[in-house]
């Protein structure tokens, strides 16, 4: 990496790392895993930054690297890590407690999804990607994306309903 590329890459990391970490946290549900994934994806991207920085959407490229690092790499370690990482307390939000409870139940339910299903839902409902774009990111067909999303939503619906019934 030449000096200009390195300066640009450093600026990108400084500006976008919080957002990338958030995204990775949604994929993994675990702070340490999220940090690992983001650092690995950025390290992979660094080598080709002179090319990546001139793309229309460099951050989108890095996010794809994050998804693929997560799905292909050792980051999928539910056998080693608690899926419910330390969730920071809300300092100023004054939403009704029931909303928070619902979201906590949903976050808990997300942790029970297989990684690929979870990735499909995060890309669809957080990144707002189309089915075609998700298929391209994950290297699968649109049909697979649709079925994974449907399965994932069904699982979430069941879990959330079960938790609602138990409270």
């Amino acid at each position: 990496m030449n000096r200009a590329d390195e300066a640009d890459f450093r600026a990108f990391v400084a500006a976008r790392s919080t957002s990338l970490l958030w995204f990775a946290h949604l994929l993994t549900g675990d702070r340490h895993a999220a940090e690992d994934i983001v650092q690995t994806a950025l390290a992979k991207t660094a080598a080709g930054w002179s090319r990546v920085r001139h793309k229309e959407n460099p951050e989108g490229y890095v996010r794809r690297a994050i998804v693929n690092t997560h799905l292909n790499g050792l980051r999928r370690r539910p056998w080693r890590e608690q899926p419910h990482g330390d969730v920071p307390e809300l300092a100023t939000d004054r939403r009704p407690e029931s909303d928070l409870d619902e979201r906590d139940a949903m976050w808990h339910a997300l942790s029970g999804l297989p990684p690929r299903q979870r990735a499909v839902l995060v890309l669809r409902y957080y990144e707002d990607l189309s089915e075609s774009d998700i298929a391209e990111v994950l290297g699968c067909s649109r049909g697979t994306v649709k079925s994974q999303a449907a399965k994932g939503l069904l699982h979430l619906r069941r879990i959330v309903q079960k938790e609602d019934a138990s409270t």
């Binding site: 400084a14 790392s17 690992d36 080693r80 608690q82 969730v87 809300l90 976050w107 409902y125």
Partner: protein
């Protein structure tokens, strides 16, 4: 948009899931990039040397009659570990997350749907299959007693009246290995990180200490053996003991220091349940322990010393990544699993799975694209990779 979709969208956008990067994040990225670059250069060099030697061998006629004759020359020149192959095994619709292996069976814990599956190692067909009451998060086989143990932990957080409370629990089951008939059912009010089966007992590393579930008199009882948060546990059957790790320091936020804190490996007599040895502090977190042929290895995540060979009697380090640091790009850390005669190492930097000699630390074989936990017996090794069962092809001195 359905209610679930709306709630999912709100949950994903919930600012409580936002993370702030730790200081020195860019330095970490640069370090990993440097590791990757070094590894690429090593791989490229190895490939170049192999190609050159194969070309020379062909040119001088060694390859004229049998293409295989070039292979010894190539293997001598390549980097030490063999490049491993693997085959995906079709075991039905479920997603495989955990596995245990014996000489006569492979036990798979699956989700979607939840179940426990026995696969025959001879033809890799599904021999038995049962539905489990929950999504299993770990398996352990007790060959002596013919039991396969499973456990599943949940952690629920409630927020009422401005205060938070956390409720952990683990449900534990044991099934006959031959029939998968359920024989033990127990529970613990704590989160289980890992567990190991030993002579009719299941030893659990939990959020509230080391516990042992004993079913010797037909009625399961859970006993607390040691306190504190215990993250990893391993059986050392030859010495009638269980090793486990205890957090002994608090993490520091200083970017120059190890952020994962320190752990110490402890040994406890599996018969008397008395502590016999307390090891030296080790600068790792999210650690794992593997005991193979009397050799003790610890891996974890942290700033350095991520793969540590311990003296079996004192549990103090006798080497760090002995013989393997040149081959393993550990990056942020590693995980170890015990094999029958090897230690399996998942390296964070290269994301490779390695088969390591427990005595020398030499890497015998390496796989690039096999994820998930690994289990092996002599001559056979398997991984639960991305929801599927992968059979690893053993070569290069890796005996499984």
């Amino acid at each position: 948009m359905t209610d679930v979709e709306k709630l999912l969208r709100q949950t994903l956008a919930d600012p409580r899931h936002r993370l702030e990067p730790l200081p020195g994040m860019y330095d970490g990225v640069r370090e990993r990039a440097r590791h990757r670059q070094q590894r690429m250069v090593q791989l490229a060099s190895a490939v170049t040397v192999v190609v050159v030697i194969a070309g020379v061998a062909t040119a001088v006629g060694l390859n004229t009659h049998s293409p295989r004759k070039a292979q010894p020359a190539a293997s001598l020149s390549a980097s030490p570990p063999a490049h491993g192959q693997f085959n995906r095994v079709d075991v039905g619709a479920g997603s495989t997350g955990y596995l245990s292996v014996t000489p006569s069976a492979i036990f798979l814990a699956q989700t979607d749907p939840n179940g426990l599956v026995t696969v025959s190692p001879s033809d890799l067909s599904v021999a038995k299959q049962i539905v489990t009451p929950d999504a299993v998060q770990g398996t352990a086989v007790d060959e002596d007693r013919g039991l396969v143990w499973t456990w599943s932990s949940t952690q629920s957080t409630t927020d009422a009246s401005g205060s938070s409370a956390s409720t952990d629990s683990t449900s534990i089951h044991a099934y006959q290995t031959s029939t998968l008939a359920k024989t033990v059912e127990a529970s613990l009010p704590y989160y289980t990180f890992s567990a190991v089966a030993l002579r009719g007992e299941l030893w659990l590393a939990t959020s509230a200490g080391l516990y042992v579930v004993d079913n010797t008199n037909g009625s399961p009882t859970a006993t607390k053996v040691s306190g504190g948060q215990v993250f990893s546990v391993a059986a050392d059957d030859a010495h009638h003991r269980v090793l486990f790790s205890v957090h002994v320091d608090t993490p520091t936020t200083s970017s120059s220091a190890n952020t994962m804190g320190f752990i110490a490996v402890h040994a406890i007599d599996s018969n008397t349940r008395r502590m016999t040895t307390v090891g030296a502090p080790l600068p790792v977190g999210k650690e794992s322990i593997a005991v193979v042929d009397g050799q003790v290895w610890v891996a974890g995540y942290g700033s350095d010393s991520l793969l540590i060979h311990l003296d079996a009697s004192t549990l103090r380090p006798i080497g760090v990544g002995v013989g393997s640091l040149d081959t393993l790009d550990l990056g942020p850390g590693a995980i170890v699993w015990p094999g029958a005669s090897v230690v399996w190492v998942r390296a964070g930097g290269s994301e490779a799975l390695s088969c390591m000699d427990p005595k020398t630390g030499a890497v015998l074989e390496q796989w690039d694209a096999v994820q998930g936990p690994v289990a092996s017996v002599v001559g056979r090794a398997y991984a639960a990779s991305d929801g599927s069962l992968e059979q690893l092809t053993l070569a290069g001195g890796c005996k499984g």
